[in-house]
């Protein structure tokens, strides 16, 4: 893996953000909108005085952290779609650029973009709702790692699907995380789900991350079980994502898809 190749991909997408208002909106708009919505909702819940204050504030924290997961996986796919929309794939892959160098560049630049969105949402939560995610973040760090690794895996799989099916499935970039959200138990415990869905929920690292965070808030401390399950599942999904992408990119080269989707 060559650093100059990875840097070139990062620079290409940083330029895109600078020049493309859509990318700026993607980066900031949804995290900010979510935090405003959940902020008002928590104000309403706090006024009732019936819920534990930590649980109410967790809603805000969960919203910010889910925003981080969502924006990361979406931007991975949109980053590749940008190459497709601008018909830049032939130029890009006729360079000495390796496919994993390209993916690494995308991961780096999207990590930066997600952190900008995360920073904006956190700042609004602090200023408008006096909610400081900082102290919570330190305790939640292991679970945050679970969320980010799963976002890598989902982002790689989605990008692979775009390589194969091109713009026909581009809406998945924005909608797939929405499909995961109800079964990831972001805002409610897993026992709220119907039994049939719980089995699916346990297969998602995101569920373990949010369940683990709730356990910390309930005063039961760090959960090694949720952490181990989250990381174990991530390992499985990441390995699958890498093999899947490698395979689908090979199929794209065999079928001439890289040049046909121009």
């Amino acid at each position: 893996m060559k650093a100059n190749h990875v840097t070139a991909v990062i620079v290409r997408h940083v330029y895109e953000v600078r020049r493309n208002l859509d990318r700026v909106l993607d980066m900031v708009y949804w995290p900010v909108l979510d935090i405003i919505l959940w902020g008002f909702f928590t104000i309403y819940l706090t006024r009732g005085n019936t819920l534990h204050p930590d649980l109410v504030s967790f809603l805000l924290g969960a919203s910010i952290l889910w925003g981080l997961f969502y924006s990361f996986q979406r931007d991975m796919t949109v980053g590749f779609l940008d190459e497709l929309w601008s018909r830049n794939l032939i130029n890009l892959f006729s360079c000495p650029l390796g496919v994993w160098e390209y993916i690494t560049g995308l991961i780096c630049v999207n990590l930066l973009k997600s952190l900008v969105g995360f920073g904006c949402a956190s700042a609004i939560a602090l200023v408008a709702y006096k909610f400081d995610i900082g102290p919570m973040l330190v305790t939640f760090l292991p679970y945050l790692a679970i969320l980010l690794l799963f976002a890598f895996a989902v982002g790689i799989i989605m990008t692979g699907l775009v390589v194969r099916y091109t713009t026909r499935i581009q809406n998945l970039a924005w909608s797939f995380a929405g499909l995961l959200q109800p079964v990831s138990c972001v805002f409610y415990p897993i026992k709220s789900l119907p039994k049939a869905l719980r089995a699916i929920a346990w297969m998602l690292p995101t569920t373990h991350a949010f369940e683990g965070m709730r356990q910390v808030l309930a005063g039961h401390g760090f959960s090694p079980t949720h952490f181990a399950w989250g990381m174990g599942l991530n390992l499985v999904y990441l390995v699958f994502a890498m093999f899947f992408f490698e395979w689908i990119f090979g199929v794209a080269r065999d079928n001439g898809l890289l040049v046909k989707i121009e």
């Binding site: 060559k2 190749h5 290409r12 895109e16 493309n20 006729s94 000495p96 080269r253 890289l258």
Partner: protein, 250 residues
């Protein structure tokens, strides 16, 4: 005899039942400009894409700089470059930004100076800070050529490089490529539908039809082989039309 830069052996590519390239073999010698000709759908672009590693061949072997493309793709592409007016750049990025990205990709030393030099060479300095979306087709082609020269390639693939250029700029580009070949010994694989241009530029030609090599040699040899008569001057236009019309009548 000059050493070989690229050896293409028994190259074939099928997409399902359709055979786009069939058992194509040729060799490109160091420092020569070789033309790859043929009617639309003859397999020229597929062949170029296979040489760039963008399409995996169904069968056959591609060796460039004496190395197998499959095993040494990245090292080989580091010393090659490619341009086609049918390939675009990210439209929101400026000309300069696009060239910076590709200069980084090829690890070009003294990036800024090299880019300024190429902008000057291709007469596009005034477009430096313009987004690609605002360029004309001809201007875009020149940006593509500047990109293709960034790494000072030993082997250059030019797919119809003058297709969108006005006669004056097209002449300038041809002169530039000839100068490059003369002074730096750059090897060029050239496709074009402008037969006069091919006669001027190429020392040897591979003529493809229905994915097969139907003739190869110098422009005069190609003319004689396809027209099946003795000629003193190359007449590639006539040869091209003969093949294209045979196809239609077939």
């Amino acid at each position: 005899m000059k050493p070989s830069i690229a050896e293409i052996k028994n190259l074939s590519k099928s997409f399902g039942d359709f055979a786009a390239v069939r058992d194509v073999s040729f060799e490109i010698l160091s420092g020569e400009i070789m033309g790859l000709l043929g009617p639309n759908g003859a397999g020229k672009t597929t062949t170029i894409h296979m040489i760039l590693g963008l399409i995996t061949p169904t069968a056959g072997e591609i060796r460039i700089f004496g190395r197998d493309l499959r095993a040494h793709r990245h090292e080989i592409l580091q010393e090659m470059n490619f341009t086609s007016p049918y390939v675009a750049f990210p439209t929101r990025l400026t000309v300069y930004e696009n060239l910076v990205v590709f200069a980084r990709m090829y690890g070009v030393p003294n990036r800024r100076e090299r880019i300024e030099e190429l902008l000057e060479t291709f007469g596009i300095t005034s477009l430096r800070d313009k987004p690609i979306a605002r360029l004309s087709s001809g201007e875009n082609t020149r940006v593509g050529l500047a990109k293709a020269m960034l790494n000072d390639p030993k082997f250059l693939l030019l797919d119809e490089p003058t297709a969108y250029l006005d006669p004056e700029i097209a002449w300038q580009v041809r002169e530039m490529m000839l100068k490059l070949q003369r002074e730096r010994g750059t090897t060029i694989l050239y496709t074009s539908h402008n037969m006069a241009e091919v006669e001027q530029m190429c020392s040897r030609i591979i003529f493809l039809h229905h994915g097969r090599v139907v003739a190869s040699g110098t422009p005069i040899e190609i003319t004689q082989a396809i027209l099946r008569e003795q000629r003193d001057e190359p007449a590639l236009e006539e040869a091209f039309l003969r093949i294209a019309r045979e196809r239609i009548s077939a």
